[in-house]
């Protein structure tokens, strides 16, 4: 994985990205000011292992400190665990929710740091968008999880057999977590198209966008659906 780095930007660019965060429909729900009490930091798992502070991020946004915000939106947001332990804020803030928005804006704007942060995760994005399930049994390969021990190799070697040894009829799959019908997949593809998610993918990974587009087009054409 490449560690995202902060790159210089003009004050106008920083203000533009900041403006997109504030304009998000959820921003007013997530940020109400900050007491600097640090309860969010005390509860935060990422703060224990990284130079990371949900308080600093919330403070930078509340104070409209664009330089500090720029550092956070490029690097720090990617260290958040998104567990929402910080949601015990006495002001009712959701630092985790704010970080979700900041990540989303970083992706939509195609920030190079976002591209770096997402490296290595392409297959997961591909899997969820193209099949409707995020992880599949065939992702359990020893080379992908060397730190999980030899059991992963057992699963990989016996995958087809072990999946057939599952009583629920929907689970006899290896490339998806469960069986999903085509009509449902078509509906999912329409959602990605109609909400601009495919455009977000294009902003950070053109190759992945091209592959996803091809896969989706084929199924949509099979169902006589044309997406403009």
């Amino acid at each position: 994985m490449t560690v995202p780095v902060v790159r210089e930007a003009t004050p106008e660019r920083k203000a533009e990205i900041f403006g997109k965060v504030v304009a998000d429909v959820r921003f007013q729900d997530y940020v109400h000011g900050c007491y600097e009490c640090g309860i969010c930091v005390a509860a935060c798992p990422s703060a224990r292992f990284y130079d990371f502070s949900p308080r600093k991020i919330t403070q930078a946004v509340c104070r409209e400190d664009l330089d500090l915000f720029w550092e956070h939106v490029n690097v720090d947001v990617w260290n958040c665990s998104q567990c929402f332990s910080c949601d015990r804020c006495p002001r009712g803030n959701s630092p985790g929710g704010l970080i979700t928005i900041m990540r989303e804006v970083a992706v939509t704007a195609g920030l190079r740091s976002a591209k770096e942060a997402l490296e290595g995760g392409e297959r997961v994005v591909y899997k969820i968008m193209s099949t409707g399930t995020q992880v599949s049994p065939d992702m359990l390969q020893p080379e992908a999880f060397p730190d999980w021990g030899p059991d992963v190799q057992d699963v990989s070697r016996n995958l087809d057999l072990w999946r057939r040894a599952l009583p629920p009829e929907t689970l006899h799959t290896t490339t998806t977590a469960w069986e999903i019908d085509d009509k449902t997949l078509v509906e999912l593809y329409l959602i990605w198209h109609m909400t601009g998610v495919l455009d977000m993918i294009k902003a950070v990974d053109e190759g992945l966008h091209m592959i996803l587009n091809d896969v989706m087009e084929e199924l949509l054409e099979d169902h006589d659906i044309v997406v403009s």
Partner: protein, 414 residues
């Protein structure tokens, strides 16, 4: 230079920590009395019903056959007893399939009819929290498409994954608060000829197990009085949109969610405490995929080692996809470094199923788990060698082509 903080993880943390790091007796002595009239936030469910009255959407009602429980601020929540539509979890079905299988098995054993749909997608929230390659309208549309699919069957949605459950509650808040978002999602669903439907209550499967605990107890065939469990409550169950989680005065004075702990006590097992119960498991969404050094360190240093040192349990019980995966799989590397780990991890659904006599491999599929669970099975009185031999013979039948799949009848074969 200051000495290392014993409450912080990391390589410098001393390995001889005891329960003294947090004075548990102080925690135990406290009690939290709930009063719904003093709840710090509005009851979003009232807004959901108001929007129905205004013609904004349909509210799918919890079936008449339900059980009422108390939630964080003392409000009442209805949990369906039967007739449920199962919103499956991709991490459970994909990587720990005994988890989903055990949930279905419990439903079958308790005779509560259920629907296991093929027109359900993942909530897609794992990817969303990991990569942010989605947005509020897309996430809401995915949720509402699934809810519409449940509504079309007449079965009530029960959500297997803690993250799906938490995220759908976020979506509910967003849709209630933002009319433009609601209109956008309604338009998207209309293109699929689907109505906009919001469930009356968001239900996590562990809440169904919670209300079924006495029925499960009646059918328990094992003596669990010598089994010590620790519980890891999932962040996205009780921290993310916190007000829907179940609490009970009898469990930690009402200060922690009663989910799992009350079931385990009802089953006759011991529930031991440990100081880092509030910490997350270390899953991190993106971390478990591309930054697993964090996940491994957090799971073992902050969770498993603390559990081991302070409670030395036979098993860690949790109720979410990422938590089972992280706490179980992270132990291999830590063990290789000689750390004080080695606690089997499973969901309360699998544990309850075992207690009711479910097969450890045909139903609970424990061969997909990593940390050694066999000593636990032995202590529970389960002959795992015999069970594995039975499962091997099932596999032989599958290999030979005599049968294509293991069936529910096979799962209960004696």
């Amino acid at each position: 230079m200051s000495s290392p903080d014993p409450n912080r993880g990391g390589p410098s943390a001393p390995s001889t920590l005891t329960a003294g790091t947090i004075p548990l007796e102080v925690v135990h002595a406290r009690s939290f009395t709930r009063n719904p009239d003093l709840a710090p936030i509005e009851d979003i469910r009232e807004e959901v019903l108001k929007l129905e009255a205004e013609g904004e959407w349909i509210v799918q009602r919890v079936p008449d056959d339900h059980t009422e429980v108390t939630t964080k601020y003392g409000r009442t929540k209805k949990i369906p007893n039967r007739h449920t539509w199962h919103h499956k979890s991709c991490g459970q079905c994909g990587h720990i399939p005994g988890y989903s299988t055990a949930i279905f098995w419990l439903n079958r054993e308790l005779g509560t009819e259920y629907n296991d749909p093929r027109d359900q997608t993942s909530c897609t929230a794992w990817n969303y929290y990991a990569s942010a390659t989605s947005n509020a309208p897309a996430q809401a549309a995915v949720a509402m498409r699934n809810f519409a699919a449940a509504y079309e069957t007449g079965f009530y949605p029960v959500i297997h994954c803690g993250t799906s459950y938490g995220h759908y509650k976020e979506v509910r808040e967003e849709l209630v608060r933002h009319p433009d978002l609601r209109a956008q999602v309604r338009d998207i669903l209309a293109k699929m000829n689907k109505p906009l439907v919001m469930p009356e209550e968001m239900i996590h499967y562990s809440e169904w197990i919670h209300v079924m605990r006495h029925e499960i107890r009646k059918r328990t065939v094992l003596d669990l009085s010598n089994i010590t469990c620790v519980v890891h409550p999932a962040c996205h169950y009780y921290k993310l949109v916190a007000e829907d989680a179940i609490y009970d005065q009898e469990i930690y004075g009402g200060q922690r969610t009663a989910i799992m702990s009350q079931l385990l006590e009802t089953l006759g097992a011991k529930v031991a405490d440990y100081s880092t119960w509030f910490d997350c498991c270390g899953f991190g969404f993106r971390h478990v995929l591309v930054q697993r050094d964090f996940t491994r360190s957090f799971a073992t240093l902050r969770k498993i080692e603390r559990m081991k040192e302070e409670a030395n349990p036979d098993v860690t019980i949790t109720h979410d996809t990422g938590c089972v995966t992280t706490l179980d799989k992270s132990q291999f590397a830590a063990k290789a470094h000689g750390r004080n780990v080695g606690i089997p991890v499973m969901s309360e659904a699998q544990f309850a199923a075992l207690a009711m006599g479910a097969h450890p491999y045909r139903v609970c599929q424990l061969h997909w788990h990593s940390t050694d669970y066999r000593p636990l099975l032995e202590k529970m009185g389960i002959d795992w060698e015999k069970a594995w031999a039975e499962f091997e013979s099932d596999l032989d039948r599958l290999r030979s082509g005599k049968t294509e799949f293991l069936t529910w009848d096979d799962a209960n074969a004696k």
